[in-house]
């Protein structure tokens, strides 16, 4: 009996040690020479997005570690996973800097940097230093099957209109839904009092009769809209409209009264990177005019490179205003969130979802 107790104590000790390691700062990273590890969204590994890098280093094939949620990437980086380059989205950038996971960048080492829209690069500046280089940007708004509704919504607040009962699918995200409810209530999503948080939660609970289901990746919402299971896709990206319009559906991507939501994603270099030179060359290849346009055309997103716009589908440029980023002033651009803000938003969303 005594022996089992000792064994148990040992195990608890080992577990304590393990969890302390996982929680502490990243351990010594594995040494890697002449290779490049990229922590990247799945689907972005195509060589057409970094052609100049392949030309310069024909022998180096980047190693990709894929993620499908920003949280996954940050968790990986935090727990000591070795990477050289990472591609998170704007509202997560601050957490990388806060945790010391990325290094300040020397923009003079990126010959393509001057071609980037300053409206986007300014968001990569945190604590006065450039940490992230934007690459892709997009909107979050409402996609509507105009043939399935009597009236097309004109604002975020219209999502609550009873005429859309059971016809809406919304993005399953604490951040996005918090944003949407705040905009509908006329609140600033970044500065809410606890009373306003409660108000937002109640507002979201009131939205539930209008919701058929939540969607969590773009293929899902495109499918829901194309089958007609739902008529309104809330917090959808540009790609939902583009894909469905291309297939001939009667579809509209609205410009809500309160303004669309917008965001950018971009690249940073690990503070522990052993291959800083390669990392700079890789990022510079990504923001190359042609590479950036290839990505934007494949995913229907905006390109951070001003010169890439000429290579984009003119219909999309006209539709989304990819050529003049003053359009962002009319939108609600997603800023970095602190971990507390994110936890709060997800908790509110979880409470809303578990309210049966």
């Amino acid at each position: 009996m005594k022996k089992t107790r000792i064994l148990f104590a040992l195990m608890v000790g080992a577990a304590l040690l393990l969890s302390a390691c996982a929680g502490g700062p990243a351990g010594p990273a594995e040494q890697k020479n002449d290779s490049l590890t990229v922590l990247e969204w799945s689907g972005y590994e195509s060589e057409t997005y970094w052609g100049p890098f392949a030309e310069k280093y024909p022998d180096i094939q980047p190693d990709y570690a894929f993620f499908s949620e920003d949280a996954e990437a940050l968790a990986k980086a935090q727990s000591g996973f070795y990477f050289d380059v990472v591609h998170p989205c704007g509202s997560w950038w601050g957490l990388y800097v806060e945790a010391g996971l990325v290094q300040p960048l020397d923009i003079s080492r990126l010959s393509n940097f001057d071609k980037l829209f300053p409206e986007l690069t300014q968001h990569g500046v945190i604590n006065g230093q450039q940490y992230f280089i934007p690459w892709d940007w997009a909107f979050e708004s409402i996609t509507v099957r105009t043939d399935l509704v009597d009236e097309v919504p004109t604002s975020w607040a219209d999502l609550w209109d009873p005429q859309y009962a059971g016809q809406i699918s919304i993005f399953d995200s604490g951040e996005s839904t918090f944003y949407t409810a705040a905009l509908a209530l006329g609140l600033d999503p970044y500065n809410t009092t606890p009373e306003q948080d409660e108000q937002i939660k109640q507002k979201l609970i009131e939205l539930k009769p209008n919701l058929l289901t939540y969607w969590s990746d773009y293929t899902e919402i495109i499918q829901l809209l194309s089958t007609g299971d739902v008529a309104v896709g809330a917090n959808t990206w540009n790609d939902a409209w583009s894909t469905l319009a291309e297939e001939g559906y009667e579809i509209e991507y609205i410009d809500p009264l309160e303004g669309r939501i917008s965001y950018a994603c971009g690249f940073g270099i690990s503070a522990n990177s052993e291959n800083v030179d390669l990392a700079y060359d890789y990022i510079n290849a990504l923001i190359d005019t042609e590479s950036n346009a290839n990505m934007a055309n494949d995913f229907y997103y905006g390109a951070a490179n001003r010169d890439s716009v000429a290579l984009l589908d003119p219909a999309l440029v006209a539709k989304f205003g990819y050529d003049d980023l003053s359009i962002l002033d009319q939108t609600n651009f997603q800023h970095p969130l602190t971990q507390e803000q994110r936890e709060k938003m997800t908790r509110i969303w979880n409470e809303v979802k578990s309210e049966q």
């Binding site: 577990a15 302390a20 929680g23 949620e69 949280a71 604490g174 936890e343 409470e351």
Partner: protein
């Protein structure tokens, strides 16, 4: 002494594997539930997330709701698997193994595919709706069943029937045919034989079938995500959100601990009333 040493040698490898890959992760999970933040230091321990859980009654309500759904899933799976297992064991003779394999065959395809198949059946343009439209029962396609708790129940029962059938099959196969002969000799009707002989001897199989289905479905989040819609959310979705989106591991760990405690308590109570090991099994 020699025997004892041999026993230790035999037990040590699985014990070590279990300790490292099963018990240690559970202890880590428990410790994480007392952490203040995901990446912060382990100490000092904090009950912050326990307070959040206690102050959010909807979390607990969802847990109860999910338990009910899993209970129903397990009960329906057993109800539907029982006649199948009974038929296989008592009426198919030598072909029973082939037929059992056929029964389990669908489980060889990916779990995700089987769940998605129900989307195809239950959707607006799905098979069910098209059938109802062609019969003239409804005039236009509407997802009447998809995106609801019923859809989750239907899908889960479908997925888990083979898992309920296996332990039932095993329990029935162990029943000595002579017991049936004896019952008949003593003048029992087929119904009496079933109620007084077959059913009691199948109880241990039913109990294991119940846990085979109840425990995994209680933690389910994939099926509710795909077919549950707004009303079909389960407790597992809450846990998944904490890890995948909120990056709030302490709360995710806590929610898992609560689930674990519930399941453990449930198993304990269940075991007291239906002592699986003590039900007589003929040899």
């Amino acid at each position: 002494m020699e025997n004892k040493r041999r026993l230790i040698v035999l037990i040590a490898p699985p014990a070590i594997v279990l300790a490292i890959f099963f018990l240690a992760p559970l202890v880590i999970m428990l410790l994480y539930s007392f952490k203040d933040s995901t990446f912060g230091p382990m100490l000092p321990l904090s009950v912050k997330h326990y307070m959040i859980f206690l102050q959010t009654p909807s979390f607990f309500r969802l847990l109860l709701d999910s338990s009910k759904l899993s209970f129903l899933t397990a009960a329906l799976s057993i109800l539907m698997a029982f006649p199948v297992a009974y038929f296989l064991v008592f009426y198919t003779g030598a072909r029973r193994i082939i037929l059992l394999t056929l029964l389990i065959l669908p489980a060889w395809t990916s779990f995700l595919l089987r769940v998605l198949a129900w989307k195809v059946i239950l959707g607006s343009n799905g098979l069910l709706n098209q059938l109802l439209i062609s019969v003239g029962l409804i005039s236009e396609g509407a997802p009447i069943l998809l995106y609801s708790q019923s859809a989750v129940l239907i899908t889960l029962v479908y997925v888990w029937i083979p898992f309920a059938a296996l332990p039932l099959f095993a329990a029935m196969e162990r029943i000595d045919p002579r017991l049936h002969e004896a019952a008949q000799d003593l003048g029992a009707s087929p119904a009496q034989t079933f109620w007084r002989v077959t059913l009691p001897l199948t109880l241990p199989g039913m109990a294991s079938a119940f846990f085979f289905v109840f425990i995994p479905t209680l933690g389910e989040w994939v099926t509710p995500t795909l077919v549950g819609g707004v009303s079909g959310i389960m407790y597992g979705n809450l846990i998944q959100d904490q890890f995948a989106r909120a990056l709030n591991w302490p709360l995710g760990a806590l929610l898992s601990v609560v689930l674990l405690v519930l399941v453990a308590a449930f198993s304990y109570v269940f075991n007291r009333f239906i002592p699986i090991t003590e039900v007589p099994v003929s040899t």
